[in-house]
Amino acid sequence: MTAVGLVARLRTVFDINVELATLFERPTIAELSEAIDMLVLTDHRFASRSPSGAREEFDL
């Protein structure tokens, strides 16, 4: 599989955009999966499933 193909597959499967440069900076599967985690877990495009429900917001 080519790198461009891998990026396209990652987009299809995880719905994330991994930069080609990231593949070089993270050449092992462990490092890449860490990047996938980061992109997936911080993706808030599909925000609240209960938009009307009450929310609490605070600093930590």
Binding site: T2, V4, L20, A21, F24, D37, S50, E57, D59
Partner: protein
């Protein structure tokens, strides 16, 4: 013991959102979702979570055309411009064989991530020079291109020279040349490919090319591929 990723995954499943604002970790959760255990996990892993969010932001810093194929080394870097596939990964084996102090930096065209691609060699060269000069503002510049990338490398070098920059190396690897599409040259290519097709490896190669072509047609449609 949960790590930051596992904790964030748990929180995400419960629609808890975390973000950094003014160097402060903020949290927004549906009322009643955060129990004492989760609150404690959040508080004790605050630094880890912030590191995680910052690294994630860095990954999303937008499309970058500079691909650090082999970023280390004290020599002036070789800039590898994109070839016919649009990506620069074909330079990886070469980069690994070069001197340990010789960096190799790939330059990618726009369009691979679904953005609008550039359609002329001149425009591509202008774009890639912009990226190259942002990475390394002054020459001497070392430029390499593989296959169709050789044409782009040549144009990049021409534009750099026209702008008064020094091009210390222009390496064209297996690139098309002006007389390549002449009658004699094409005849030679055709005859040698016939000869190749008679060998067992040639037959396998032919099958592989046919498969690749079918796959390409499935993606872009037959009209986009000119018949040979």
């Amino acid at each position: 013991m949960m790590d930051a990723a596992a904790l964030l995954s748990t929180l995400r499943a419960r629609d808890v959102r975390l973000w950094i604002e003014d160097a402060q970790l903020k949290c927004s959760a549906p009322a009643g979702v955060l129990d004492a255990g989760l609150r404690e996990a959040l508080a004790s892993r605050k630094q880890e979570i912030m590191d995680f969010l910052r690294q994630a932001e860095a990954l999303k810093s937008g499309p970058t055309s500079i691909v650090p194929i082999k970023p280390g080394g004290r020599r002036p870097p070789i800039f590898a411009v994109s070839g016919h596939g649009g990506d620069v990964f074909c330079f990886l084996p070469l980069a690994r064989h070069l001197h340990v102090e010789q960096p190799v930096i790939g330059v990618q065209p726009p369009g691979l991530d679904g953005t609008e691609p550039l359609k002329s060699v001149e425009a591509l060269a202008r774009y890639e020079i912009e990226q190259i000069r942002r990475y390394r503002p002054g020459g001497p510049y070392l430029i390499a291109g593989h296959c169709a990338g050789g044409v782009l490398a040549f144009e990049v070098a021409q534009q750099l020279v026209a702008a008064g920059q020094e091009v210390a190396l222009l390496a064209l690897i297996g690139s098309p040349f002006p007389t390549m599409f002449g009658r004699a040259s094409l005849m030679w290519v055709r005859l040698s490919s016939y000869a190749m097709a008679l060998t067992p490896g040639g037959f396998a190669r032919k099958l592989q090319l046919r498969l690749e072509r079918q796959r390409a047609e499935a993606v872009v449609g037959p009209a986009a591929l000119t018949a040979r």
